[in-house]
């Protein structure tokens, strides 16, 4: 049987990789992908705790997280496309104004 710690370690590692991606990448699409990694790591630890606690609530929370992430990605990508049309670049550093 795989111990609880192995799953948590894996989740922590993936979360750290996602944090590195969010901090270091300057391309908006890459930042969004790293955010997806963060959400995936959190989902993994939710399901792990659900299994090891014998409670279904964790899996339900993962279900809701997936729904919210789908909405977030759709709006985020719409904003990315708008940003590309207006600035014709995808570098986050180019976004210096609040309004165009």
């Amino acid at each position: 049987m795989i111990p609880l710690g192995a799953y948590l370690l894996l989740s922590g590692l993936v979360f750290s990789i996602g944090i590195i991606g969010v901090v270091t990448s300057r391309q908006v699409i890459k930042v969004l992908l790293s955010l997806e990694l963060l959400l995936a790591a959190c989902n993994l630890s939710f399901v792990t705790f659900s299994k090891f606690n014998g409670d279904y609530t964790g899996q339900l929370i993962v279900f809701f997280v997936i729904l919210v992430a789908a909405a977030e990605v759709a709006i985020g990508l719409a904003i990315v496309v708008l940003m590309y049309r207006h600035l014709s670049t995808l570098q986050a550093d180019e976004l210096r104004t609040m309004k165009w």
Partner: protein
């Protein structure tokens, strides 16, 4: 051999997940980033199946690999992405920042997990997240949040349509007449 199968699968998919998520942040081509995330989501869903959360695993596969990442692929392929041109000083600073954040986060994770394992050793329970059990809870105890997520999706649709309409109207204005 059969007895060791779950742990073999766990290590296989764990290694695949880590490799794929590393290549999400390290690959230069945005297309490869998105495809690596597909692999990562696939191995994550396999881990969910190992944890006997079948419904959540298949929803993750359908919604993420099926819909969300295809959306990402569309956007990446529609926009021409130029390679990142940062000065070396900027790049070095970013890399330092990233390594610092990664070390900080992973060390705090290791510390927290170690103390947790010392505190209590939980064994795996026998729950199975099939459609039946998850659906029973979803439509009794969690009915209100479930209905509220439909409103969230509706609001998301409104937001996207208004954003796209704004883009269309400004696109028309920019056309030379």
């Amino acid at each position: 051999m059969i007895k060791n199968m779950p742990s073999f699968c766990f290590y296989l998919f764990a290694a695949l997940l880590i490799l794929a998520s590393l290549s999400v942040i390290l690959a230069r081509n945005p297309l490869y980033n998105v495809l690596a995330l597909v692999v990562a989501i696939f191995s994550l869903s396999s881990l969910f199946v190992l944890l006997e959360a079948f419904f959540v695993g298949i929803v993750l596969l359908l919604v993420y690999a099926g819909a969300v990442l295809v959306l990402f692929l569309f956007v990446v392929m529609c926009l021409e992405l130029q390679s990142i041109s940062l000065s070396s000083a900027q790049q070095g600073r970013l890399r330092l920042l990233g390594i610092l954040a990664g070390v900080l986060f992973s060390s705090s994770f290791f510390w927290a997990i170690q103390s947790f394992i010392k505190a209590n050793t939980l064994g795996a329970s026998s729950i199975r997240g099939t459609i039946e059990t998850i659906g029973k809870i979803l439509f009794t105890d969690y009915l209100l949040p479930f209905e509220l997520t439909s409103f969230l999706l509706l609001i998301a649709i409104f937001g996207i349509v208004s954003l796209a309409q704004g883009a269309l109207s400004t696109g028309k204005e920019e056309l030379p007449s």
